[in-house]
């Protein structure tokens, strides 16, 4: 956990002390950013907040009568359990992507300039085919009469086909596949910055590979790891398309539940309330991390 506080303001550590008070010019430059945030993040969120406090009509749309009913339902054990499960999936995805992706990001970051470009592109190109088409390709590979089973039977590991599709195994593959680049790219950004001579110096001073990794490389790539963790973990909580397609949609996740309120159950206020609680949890955590990071740095 001590990686996360480094993400935000604390992030600014080396220069935070030097950071100058913003003058009018800095404010002017920041205006488009703030304007965008207010118009397209704050206003829609406010709309949702109002919706979450309303009642619904037969179409599921909101009727502007004040009600806290939706929030009462959010803390029903059914939904709390689903939320916990979603966090579990996201945590698994994050850890798996970090373990698998870090060496790749490191190799790309330490490669020569020409190779860096090529490798980066090689990592991204698969993701420029549609998610659905990619996922169906995985189905072709994992299905009972599919390519992987065919291969396994060819080398006669088993006479019976394995159940691969619609299992936790298939879901894991799908999750790692979908989020891996969002871990690799920010770590690459950090690793690329590490001065090669620092690593060499550590070697020259007699540090073994593990020591070099834990004492030099890892701390220096922490900002990238923190960013990657955030970029994978946070979007993965609301994810459900992969578990639906590769897992058979047998267990609902929080993303399914929220989507269903709009596309099946016709209960906009409840959908909005679920979303508000979900976002509020995130905002509080993130804000505390930023604050905590700063205090630690002051101390």
């Amino acid at each position: 956990m001590d990686a996360l506080p480094a993400t935000g303001a604390g992030a600014a550590s080396p220069t935070a002390a030097d950071a100058r008070r913003a003058g009018w010019r800095a404010w002017l430059l920041l205006t488009p950013v703030v304007g965008w945030l207010v118009l397209f993040v704050v206003v829609p969120t406010a709309v949702l907040f109002v919706y979450s406090l309303c009642e619904r009509d037969e179409l599921g749309r909101v009727v502007f009568t004040f009600s806290l009913e939706s929030y009462g339902r959010v803390f029903d054990t059914v939904y709390v359990r689903i939320f916990a499960r979603s966090i579990g999936y996201a945590a698994f995805t994050t850890v798996a992507c970090l373990i698998i992706g870090f060496p790749v990001a490191y190799v790309i970051g330490r490669a020569t300039e020409a190779w860096r470009q090529r490798l980066l592109l090689l990592v991204m190109v698969p993701f420029w085919t549609s998610f659905l088409i990619r996922t169906y390709a995985w189905i072709t590979i994992l299905k009972q009469e599919g390519l992987l089973n065919g291969l396994l039977q060819l080398v006669s590991l088993s006479a019976q086909p394995f159940d691969l599709l619609y299992t936790p195994f298939a879901v894991s593959i799908g999750l790692i596949y979908a989020y891996l680049p969002f871990m690799i790219l920010p770590i690459y950004g950090s690793v690329e910055k590490i001065d090669g001579s620092v690593i060499e110096a550590a070697h020259d001073l007699g540090a073994g590979p593990w020591r070099v990794f834990s004492a030099v490389i890892l701390p220096l790539s922490m900002p990238g790891i923190a960013a990657g963790t955030l970029l994978v973990f946070v979007p993965a909580i609301a994810m459900f398309a992969i578990t639906d397609l590769l897992g058979g949609a047998r267990v609902p996740l929080i993303g399914n539940v929220i989507q269903n309120q709009f596309l099946q159950a016709r209960d906009w206020p409840f959908g909005a309330a679920l979303g508000m609680v979900f976002m509020a949890l995130f905002v509080v955590t993130y804000w505390l991390l930023l604050r905590f990071g700063r205090e630690e740095e002051v101390a």
């Binding site: 950071a19 991204m124 190109v125 549609s130």
Partner: protein, 271 residues
């Protein structure tokens, strides 16, 4: 800057064995990333429409892609929207990350938190709330509204990538430039920006990828004329994804790869 480190080998330094293992690992991960891509390339030549079994070789799907005007139109829309989204996200994300890093703003922490909110907002909520917002201000749905939606969920990715890179960026460099009489703007352009390039490229790639493949926010913010490829593809799943879509993906991957190789080649010549 880091890229100038001269190196004779693939790596700038390190032990041979460790490098071998790392390279092997990277190769394995790349194989993992390309397994489904190879499958979809192979199946784009499959004669069977439902694409379940191999029934024979054909180039027919490529011909069909070429004559399918709505599909090509959707691909064109997706490309334009993704490129615009990338450009705007990079500008917003980079300025935001840089300014909040360099200067102290009142409420800076709130702005930073706010910028991360779109990442956690489920697509359906963002889609519906933007739809309600656009309808209430009387903004007709179209390219603009789709791009607005896409930028909103994409730029936090650029922001965080750039922010991670900024940490530990040597402040002395900028100070030196300022001491030598550079304006803050010039110092930013000539000292900071080149140092941020890897993060900007990484963030831009993420923004492009997210926009290119987004379905739900797009549905609620698009009109008939601005429908994107994912909308058409998800619709087609109902009657069975036919190999035409594989063919289209293959063409797109080939086109981007060719464009990149071509531009790299141009750079080499012009050098």
């Amino acid at each position: 800057m880091p890229s100038s480190t001269p190196s004779t080998s693939f790596f700038s330094g390190g032990l041979r064995l460790r490098d071998g293992i790392l390279r092997g690992w990277t190769a394995a991960v790349l194989v993992f990333l390309y397994v489904p891509i190879v499958v979809l390339v192979v199946y784009s030549f499959n004669a069977s429409r439902l694409n379940v079994r191999w029934t024979g070789f054909t180039l027919g799907w490529y011909r069909e892609v070429w004559s399918n005007a709505p599909l090509l139109r959707a691909a064109q829309n997706s490309l334009i929207i993704a490129l615009l989204t990338t450009v705007i996200s990079v500008i917003l994300g980079t300025t935001g990350a840089w300014l909040l890093f360099r200067y102290r703003f009142r409420g800076g922490r709130a702005i930073r938190t706010l910028a991360a909110v779109p990442m956690v907002m489920p697509e359906i909520l963002m889609g519906i709330s933007l739809l309600v917002f656009f309808a209430s201000v009387g903004m007709p749905l179209g390219f603009t509204t789709v791009v607005i939606g896409h930028v909103t969920f994409s730029f936090p990715f650029v922001w965080l990538a750039v922010q991670a890179r900024l940490q530990g960026l040597d402040p002395a460099l900028e100070e030196a430039a300022l001491d030598l009489g550079a304006t803050p703007w010039r110092a930013f352009c000539y000292v900071i920006l080149p140092g941020l390039r890897p993060a900007i490229v990484a963030g831009g790639l993420m923004a492009f990828t997210l926009s290119w493949d987004e379905l739900i926010v797009t549905f609620f913010t698009a009109s008939a004329a601005s429908a994107t490829l994912p909308i058409r593809i998800f619709g087609m799943a109902k009657v069975g994804l036919n190999p035409m879509l594989n063919a289209l993906s293959v063409l797109f991957v080939l086109a981007t790869t060719a464009a990149v190789i071509f531009s790299a080649h141009l750079r080499k010549i012009s050098r």
